[in-house]
Symmetry: C3
Subunit: 157 residues, 3 copies
């Protein structure tokens, strides 16, 4: 394949990357809306205007400062996604440029995606450790593996 | 247009993407510096060394633990940008690869950017809900719309 | 160089970008694992299941709500990376598309990377201000400089 077409839909690795990239982003959005859902059902918001017009300000302040364990758990889960998924999206995209063996690349994309789903489920239920730690670490190692292959390809050129 | 030139300045969609991408990043930086500005004017920092040499450590600790509502509001606004803008930057870039109709693509980029400005203004003033929720949700829906088009293009190939 | 090959390993600017992008991501991962390391050595976690099976729940709750200054410092350092590095990764990648002079581009990538290392060291030791502020601001200015060059290139086309 000509190098110039690596970032085109003709390239299977790029097509697979596109698919997993979008799946991961939609998953992140799900967690974002789930946070809102938990806030609404628990009536625990971070801003006084979120309680609605007419809600007593003193009571709003009290609920804000008290917080809620469930909301904080979902937020930490979301923040962990934020630490890992945008970085994967970029490294996974750059990985396409070194024209990796398709099966190897697809394996990286799949394992990362599976690891993030495991991490999220382990965080939200929660499952006993080390489930969550394994999901997190696997995701980091897959991204690092792509990173190291990129470094070597750029250096060997 | 040849697929190989989608990521070049010859491609109008890519040029428009570049413009909005940079505008959004500069906007994020504005919020970051605004956070510092509010911290300095309120003299509420997160680290004891930020109070300057000679500031009594006990007093610094007290101010850190007390915090400030305004600072926390700006921080939450910034964090929401961080949840949404980097993901948009990647998905918007990948969207160029499926060679969308220029007017449709430009509309997506414009609405997202407008939605984020509305979100930020609604958060910082603040405006009554659902202004902020609408800004946030519109941004997510625009990104999801691009994502779904990418999924379909990658699957149909 | 033909525009179609800007995102190939033939392009020196892209190769240098790839190298610094991966170095920055590996640095971020180091901070992420360092956070876990500090949590484990201080035995201060954010979730009750992290204390391990058999740890008294009341005691876990107490340690969670008390927190730890060192853990919070490392977390803020990580969060600042998260604010700046993914955005740099995208803007740095887009910068390749405007085919900048190689020496200028490489200087941007190098200064940004150095600035983030300075920021992290200044945050974690900590060094007195304005070391950390300089590291942070330099990183932002480098990213903004690339952004403004992108805006001009897209507008002049």
């Amino acid at each position: 394949m000509a190098e110039s077409s690596l970032y085109s839909l003709d390239n299977e690795v790029f097509r697979v990357y596109l698919t997993y990239a979008v799946v991961l982003v939609l998953k992140m959005f799900f967690i974002a809306f789930y946070t809102s859902f938990v806030r609404i059902t628990k009536k625990v918001y971070a801003n006084k205007e979120d309680f609605g017009i007419g809600y007593p300000e003193e009571k709003a302040k009290e609920r804000i400062s008290k917080g809620n364990d469930r909301v904080e758990r979902v937020r930490r889960c979301h923040l962990n996604d934020l630490e890992n998924i945008p970085v994967f999206l970029v490294i996974g995209l750059l990985y396409v440029a070194i024209n990796p063996v398709a099966s190897t690349a697809i394996l990286h994309y799949r394992i990362f995606t599976a690891a993030r789903f495991i991490h999220n489920v382990a965080y939200l239920l929660p499952l006993p450790q080390p489930c969550r730690a394994l999901g997190f670490t696997t995701g980091v190692l897959v991204t690092a593996s792509m990173g190291i292959q990129i470094l070597r390809a750029a250096a060997q050129f």
